[in-house]
Symmetry: C2
Subunit: 305 residues, 2 copies
DNA sequence: CCTTGTGCTGCAAAAAATGCATCGGTTTTG
DNA sequence: CAAAACCGATGCATTTTTTGCAGCACAAGG
């Protein structure tokens, strides 16, 4: 959209931290870009960048303005969606920031199901840790966030919450597979792999371990749940996962077992949006569908096994 | 602001109902304006005007877009206000749509008081009947509305409400001046002047008269409270007014007397804004002050006498 | 049937944005 | 301590975009 060009340029400069770099990124001359900024500052009435010896940086006024631009751009997309809707097209675009756990099974299935009814709607799926997912919402780069145990919850409007008991993922021949429910201390006695600290599962494990005064002693740590999932097959270790993230069929070589709630409280898987924002039609509908689909996972133990 | 130029043009065309007329109004050629519209429609992806044989008219998509533009423009002003605020200027502009009753005493005093502390803030005061005031809010042409007995209340977010007992305004030598509280039927026995039907006072009188099965029989009807106020001096008639609208000092030749609440329920004087909107700093502050100043008028009878 | 008013379009002129080279400044580097 | 590397700003020629003018086709009203 043409009249948002200024926004695009300002954003580029803010991101690059220098007009020249930004100009390079956006295939424009530094002088042209520089003048665009100057022109805009003039008509806006205030400088929005502070000029540093090594470049530029948004000043508070600029931050305010950027937020305004983001809202504006997002709202324009919403209007376009509504217009498409009333011309019977049901088009649109939905962008979701989500935790890794949702990537393999849950989200693909949900999106496919939604697209079956609305082929005109396209999706962006971004894997983000809890922190980044919330930031995406605030910056209007994502419409929805689906995260396990979000950190701040400022500007995060909860659309749906389902408690999730943390499960361990082990091989069928692992000694712990015999019990239907396992204790945390038993898990820690066996070799275990842990997610890195930016993940909600790790945060819960950290506090639980501290309370039980049993130190975590991971043989491996990773920011990839997929890695951990595959690793347990090799060394017969214990991995941790929330039930919604994994389906262990009866013919799978792995099983899941819930950790006793006496050791660890369930964490919350939250579906949320930017507080106060009016979502585009497509996103709102999709969120509704997601919420419905999340319901069965409420307090769910390891499904199958 | 440059990037809102399209908005300005679209609005002009929508208002004029024809591209050529709008072009004339806005000092631009019809061809240039026409092409702006076309270009915009192209990049927006949908037509926003329906072409009629005698001109153009916004289609539903266009209506949606206009609303978006209005929000956007209003939000930009808010941001500019905030920026001015953080550079310590405390500038801004407040626009108020209000009923006639507030014009002579209440609003001038309030605005003067506010401007004493914030000389950088300017004001627009528009006299509007209840209907128009609410429309102004919805179209973002006014930040605040101060109306007696609003009609629809959709999109009207109430910031403050004070009940107002309708008073009669009469000369000191009028027979009804003897009683501290008057009955409606007694008023109707005397010659009386009434506001026209778009006003809240009239609406309340209409229903009360209907309930008491006593017909209204105005010797004069006017849309100007000022006219009615002066008329009572000439023919010794009865006029109706809400207490906040008038100060009758002890040396005045007129007095006010409340109508018994057995005959008429108090109406509400409401201060409101567009639902869900974030007001500019200045407007929000001023609204706060207004609300405080309204408090003493709660259920107030004729002040002074 | 002609007049009036509409939106639309080809073409030349005017206006705006861009690219290039360069200046004056600060920081980094050798 | 000087040279190199960046930085934002600016003057000027060029390119791109926008505008104005004139005229077209079409529909309504007299």
């Amino acid at each position: 959209m043409k009249h948002l060009q200024t926004f695009h340029y300002v954003e580029g400069v803010a991101r690059a931290g220098s007009i020249r770099k930004a100009a390079d990124d956006m295939n424009i001359t530094a002088s042209a870009l520089n003048r665009r900024i100057q022109r805009f500052e003039e008509e806006f009435g205030y400088e929005i960048f502070e000029r540093l010896p090594r470049g530029v940086r948004l000043n508070p006024a600029g931050e305010l303005l950027m937020q305004h631009f983001r809202v504006q751009a997002s709202d324009l997309r919403r209007v376009q969606g509504q217009v498409a809707d009333l011309s019977g097209e049901r088009r649109g675009h939905v962008s979701v920031a989500c935790s890794q756990a949702l990537i393999p099974y849950f989200l693909p299935a949900q999106i496919a199901a939604y697209r079956q009814n609305h082929p005109g709607v396209s999706f962006s799926v971004r894997v983000r840790d809890r922190e980044a997912a919330e930031r995406e919402l605030a910056e209007f780069s994502s419409d929805l966030a689906l995260v396990f145990e979000p950190v701040h919850l400022v500007d995060f409007e909860v659309l749906m919450a389902v408690p999730q008991i943390i499960n361990i993922l082990i091989r069928r021949d692992h000694p712990l597979a015999a019990k239907p429910v396992v204790r945390l201390r038993d898990c820690l006695d066996h070799p275990h792999v842990l997610p890195t600290s930016q993940y909600g599962v790790r945060a819960l494990l950290d506090t639980a371990a501290a309370l039980g005064s049993r130190p975590l002693n991971p043989i491996a740590e990773s920011d990839s749940f997929e890695f951990m999932r595959h690793y347990v097959r090799h060394e017969n270790a214990v991995a941790f996962q929330i039930p919604i993230g994994l389906h262990c069929g009866p013919d799978s070589d792995c099983v899941m077992r819930p950790i006793s709630t006496r050791d660890m409280p369930p964490g919350n898987l939250l579906l949320g949006q930017m507080r106060g924002r009016t979502l585009p039609v497509a996103s709102a509908r999709f969120a509704q569908g997601l919420a419905q689909a999340m319901e069965p996972f409420r307090e769910a133990n390891s499904p199958g096994g």
